[in-house]
């Protein structure tokens, strides 16, 4: 048992995976948080939707620290936002990584604790993975190099993705619309979430009948895939099927709903499940595509 534990947690080299993940993940976060610039004062300033004085009244604020509760001026807010974006760029380029990962985590937590209402899926995933990146970079630093911290963190990063899908799948099993097979109908018809107005597709009852079956099958498929992801992703035989299906599902989510950055963050975490050889193939394939479009 001790041997198994040691082998699983302390003897894996996930550096290549984590370095590539860090690069892509930080650029995705940069895009996502750059978009926040347009609503920065609305979401986080004292003249916006949540005044500092109101925070205890709207949520349980014990242990939730944000430096933005003390730096309430608009200029300091913009400076802090700039610092956060800069730290993500440094991390993406692999410069001063352990220090910048600490800065990025500190800034990120400060923003989400300043207004927890403005947080959605991509932010919550970013919280966990910035935390792991921070520990990983510390583990890679000279002082801690002798402890197998980075190996353990790599495993935690993999397990985290399994926890996300397991809970997401089990939660769906509690929902009547996922059992009825019309969950995707409600998601697509919700104009607040859906990227396009899909009502023309279902204009007459004939078309609705025709689309009922694909919608039901897709709804069941999503639940099955999420529930089985945490188990099958560890199997060599099933790994590519489960990751490939996930990439397709998230691509569809990114196209059909207003959450392209969320979809990108989730798929980016799949890199953590590729071994060194597969990772090499992936980067070669990616470079080929980029060169075809003359981007690299």
């Amino acid at each position: 048992m001790k041997k198994l534990w040691d082998h699983f947690w302390f003897q894996v080299d996930g550096r290549a995976q984590v370095f590539l993940f860090r690069k892509i993940f930080c650029w995705i976060l940069f895009g996502s948080y750059f978009s926040r610039s347009f609503d920065l004062e609305l979401l986080y300033s004292n003249e916006g939707l949540l005044q500092v004085a109101s925070i205890p009244a709207v949520l349980f604020s014990d242990y939730r620290f944000s430096i933005l509760n003390y730096l309430s001026g608009v200029n300091s807010l913009w400076l802090f936002h700039g610092l956060f974006l800069t730290s993500l760029v440094f991390l993406a380029f692999g410069c001063l990584t352990w220090f910048m990962s600490l800065v990025a985590l500190f800034c990120h937590l400060s923003f989400i604790h300043r207004n927890l209402g403005a947080v959605y899926g991509a932010d919550t995933i970013a919280t966990y993975y910035l935390f792991y990146l921070c520990l990983f970079e510390i583990g890679e630093s000279k002082i801690f190099k002798k402890i197998p911290l980075s190996s353990a963190v790599f495993r935690l990063m993999q397990i985290q993705l399994c926890v996300i899908y397991a809970y997401s799948g089990f939660e769906k099993l509690r929902g009547a619309s996922w059992w009825n097979g019309d969950a995707l109908w409600y998601a697509l018809m919700n104009s607040q979430v859906s990227r396009w107005n899909m009502s023309w597709v279902f204009h007459d009852s004939g078309a609705s009948v025709w689309f009922s079956l694909p919608i039901a099958l897709a709804s069941y498929g999503v639940v099955l895939w999420e529930v089985y992801f945490p188990v099958l992703v560890w199997s060599k035989r099933w790994k590519f099927w489960i990751l490939g299906t996930g990439a397709v599902i998230h691509a569809m989510i990114g196209i059909c709903f207003r959450i392209p950055f969320f979809a990108a963050v989730m798929v980016c975490a799949y890199l953590l499940f590729l071994d060194s050889k597969e990772l090499k193939h992936f980067t070669q394939f990616f470079k080929k595509i980029l060169s075809r479009f003359k981007l690299a």
Binding site: S45, A57, G117, Y167, R258
Partner: protein, 210 residues
């Protein structure tokens, strides 16, 4: 032959294993912490979970994606009770017009939608967040007019709105018809959605502590 580990290394690994176990238990139980198990574990883990915000339930589009749309309608009233402006938050359709496919705009919309869902969970939240914002941005920002049917921009308040005396607030829920009813021809997609307007409050700006 495997290299023998030093006692110091073994102690460090033991400490690391304890840390891994602590974190694993935390991330595994926290999404389901409103349970008997949670009541037992919360005192031990709460500070850790809240400090790093490991409190999410991972319920993406779950247990149901939501068979309704939710938003807030507000009305700004003058000193004589006259209506100065009507609006809604978030006004995603109007704000997205023309550039709804633009990546960054979608991300912006999603955050506003998250705020509106956060407020919709409790009326008191909406009152605490939206009323000061509507009063505050109207009384302190004074450069141009509010968008009709939109979010008052921080940079585009209105001199007119210095006259705002009070705000009325409603939560609006629009129900999406079930697919089965459309498929069976009982309803048509273009039929008006079921719309419920819930009264939240009528608050006076002068009563707020800004």
């Amino acid at each position: 032959m495997a290299k023998k580990e030093s006692p110091k290394y073994r102690i460090l690994k033991l400490g690391l294993s304890a840390g891994i176990l602590f974190h694993l238990v935390a991330i595994a139980y926290s999404p389901n912490s409103e349970t008997e198990l949670g009541t037992f574990l919360n005192p031990l883990f709460q500070s850790y979970l809240h400090f790093f915000e490991f409190t999410t339930s991972w319920s993406f589009f779950a247990p149901d994606p939501g068979s309704f749309l939710v938003y807030f309608e507000w009305e700004l009233l003058g000193k004589q009770g006259e209506q100065l402006e009507l609006g809604q938050f978030p006004d995603l359709v109007a704000e997205s017009a023309g550039d709804s496919n633009f990546l960054l705009k979608q991300e912006q919309d999603m955050r506003k939608l998250s705020v509106s869902r956060f407020m919709a969970a409790y009326d008191a939240r909406a009152e605490k967040m939206l009323i000061p914002y509507l009063c505050f941005s109207s009384s302190r920002q004074g450069t141009s007019s509010f968008h009709h049917q939109g979010t008052p921009s921080l940079r585009q308040g209105a001199p007119l709105l210095e006259a705002v005396d009070s705000v009325r607030l409603w939560k609006v829920i629009e129900l999406i018809p079930p697919l089965k009813e459309i498929a069976l021809g009982h309803r048509k997609i273009e039929d008006a959605r079921g719309r419920e307007r819930h009264w939240i409050t009528h608050a006076y700006c002068k009563d707020l502590e800004l």
